[in-house]
């Protein structure tokens, strides 16, 4: 199968590869896919309190298109508010990278990774808020 130039470019020069420390409070981590399916994407978003995505990192086990999809997504979400990022559709990725039909699942996975990372951030924020409240209450008591 011939890859598009953009897939090859992202594969050769992936953007934002790596990991944030998991315990950083403003980081949301999304891990999607499964090893036995041949694709696992880990997307981490560093999100400010106002919901703007400040930075992103990825690691991907998968084919070149999966790597390129996740690399592109890290560029795409940076600077966006989570309310906007969460609406990103896989078709944007398909179009940008010229993915053939058999590789569309890679773009779907990347879309899912964004949603999973934001959900994780929200959950952790919620937990934090709850625990802040709790500790505030316990102080009052």
């Amino acid at each position: 199968m011939a890859y598009s130039d953009k897939v090859i470019e992202h594969y050769n020069n992936p953007r934002n590869v790596g990991s944030f420390a998991k315990d950083e409070p403003n980081v949301g981590t999304g891990v999607v896919g499964a090893p036995e399916c041949g694709d696992v994407m880990k997307l981490q978003l560093k999100i400010a309190d106002d919901g703007v995505i400040e930075d992103a990192r990825f690691k991907t086990f998968g084919c070149g298109s999966a790597i390129a999809s996740s690399s592109y997504v890290t560029e795409l979400v940076k600077g966006k508010h989570i309310d906007e990022a969460i609406t990103i559709k896989n078709t944007v990725i398909v179009k940008e990278l010229n993915l053939p039909p058999v590789k569309i699942h890679c773009s779907v996975l990347a879309e899912d990774a964004i949603k999973a990372a934001i959900a994780d951030w929200r959950k952790r924020r919620g937990d934090r808020a709850a625990s802040d409240e709790q500790s505030a209450q316990s102080k009052e008591a």
């Binding site: 199968m1 890859y3 090859i8 594969y11 992936p14 590869v17 990991s19 891990v31 999607v32 896919g33 499964a34 090893p35 036995e36 399916c37 041949g38 694709d39 696992v40 994407m41 880990k42 690691k59 991907t60 086990f61 998968g62 084919c63 070149g64 298109s65 999966a66 790597i67 058999v102 590789k103 699942h105 999973a116």
Partner: protein
């Protein structure tokens, strides 16, 4: 200076040996006769060439030359063997015994018969090395069994089945034994007569001959094996395969067999040296890599390796000046990883991570060193990018993770 790209996919096909091509060329031009033309010298010349080829093939595989029937290649030979036997012996039975790691030409021929209600098929499993258990073959035989179809050597993992043992069982039970010997002929010593093989598929393009020509061995005595032809026509090849003979191709197949036979001891020695160099080099540079296939009962030129935490297709993409193949799902349209690697029971994850190196006559030590270096570097780069590698290094048991997919 290395010439690139480097071809290391010799189980898929091979380059035509220039000696084979030289033998073939006259049969396109001045010696273009139809081997079936009995009444002029053009025909006689062609027939003579075909007979010579039959002798060359027969000598390599230990059979009589009249037992060689020419076909368009191994897919046709497999189809003819399986469908031809089932049709001819339909009054005797309708049960086939085959194996899960067979080539698609065998598996799909069996499935076609199943779908048509003309056969029931037992697909035997393999052990973790990809080998079928001869006792399992014996146990699977019923009163209705008419055919056993087990390959000599596997095209992906190189594992060589215990053919002589299976042949003996087939003889004891009076069942016809077909063997897809495509990967073995010309690569390792093969003797169909002695090993009790009754039908065997052969192709030219895996042994440095041309594409589009092959043969089927059909045992003539002890027992005499009969087939219903699958193509109607002029009754060529003793009525088993109609169609004007591909004389240049047949000449090429014969020449390829003769060269393979003559050079086999030296070639086996050389390929095993190259392979152990490749294997040792990769194991030296990388952790968590696994050889798929049998440790010793294996084709000399085959090395199938799973590089854990790295997906096969992405690896191929990174080593794009090297031609190898992957058992990864993504190289096919089906998104399923190789059924052969899966059959080993090593897990789909490692199946996705497998790469097949197929060393051949024209590979050099210099190429092996380059490939070792290039592959190792790319695996390391991709592992740095792999969330699975990161998790494994952190001590996470990947099997314990509940994956959302």
């Amino acid at each position: 200076m290395l010439k690139k790209p480097i071809y290391m996919d010799n189980h898929a096909t091979t380059r035509v040996d220039s000696r084979v091509l030289d033998a073939m060329l006259p049969y396109f031009t001045e010696k273009f006769g139809n081997a079936a033309s009995r009444n002029h010298s053009f025909g006689w010349e062609a027939e003579e060439a075909v007979d010579r080829s039959r002798n060359q093939i027969a000598a390599l595989v230990g059979v009589k030359s009249k037992e060689i029937i020419f076909t368009s290649g191994a897919t046709e030979s497999d189809n003819l063997a399986i469908k031809g036997v089932l049709e001819f012996y339909k009054d005797k039975g309708n049960h086939i015994i085959s194996c899960v790691t067979e080539h698609k030409a065998v598996l799909d021929s069996c499935r076609a018969l199943e779908r048509a209600g003309r056969a029931t098929v037992t697909y035997l499993p393999v052990d973790k090395y990809g080998m079928v258990d001869p006792d399992a073959v014996r146990r699977a035989i019923t009163d209705h069994t008419v055919l056993i179809s087990i390959m000599w050597a596997n095209n992906e993992i190189g594992t060589i089945h215990p053919i002589a043992e299976i042949g003996k069982i087939a003889k004891d039970k009076g069942v016809i034994f077909h063997c897809d010997a495509v990967q073995a002929v010309g690569k390792v010593p093969v003797d169909f007569e002695k090993t009790g093989v009754d039908l065997a598929s052969i192709t030219a393009h895996k042994i440095y001959g041309p594409k589009g020509v092959g043969a089927i061995y059909v045992r003539s005595k002890g027992p005499r094996v009969r087939l219903t032809p699958q193509m109607d026509g002029g009754g060529h090849e003793r009525g088993m395969r109609s169609g004007t003979l591909n004389v240049p191709g047949i000449v090429g197949l014969g020449a390829a067999c003769e060269i393979a036979g003559k050079e086999m001891p030296e070639e086996v020695r050389r390929l095993m040296l190259l392979r152990s160099q490749l294997q040792a080099g990769l194991f030296e540079r990388l952790d968590e890599i696994y050889v798929n296939g049998h440790p010793t009962e294996r084709l000399p030129g085959n090395l199938n390796v799973s590089f854990a935490y790295v997906e096969g297709e992405s690896l191929l993409m990174g080593i794009n000046d090297i031609a190898v193949s992957s058992g990864s799902a993504c190289t096919s349209a089906t998104l399923e990883p190789s059924y052969v690697i899966r059959a080993l029971g090593i897990g789909d994850e490692l199946a996705h991570s497998s790469i097949r190196f197929g060393l051949g006559r024209f590979n050099t030590l210099e190429e092996v060193d380059y490939v070792t270096d290039r592959v190792s570097k790319e695996v390391k780069r991709l592992r740095e990018m792999s969330p699975l590698y990161e998790m494994a290094k952190e001590g996470v048991d990947l099997k314990s993770v509940s994956w959302k997919s």
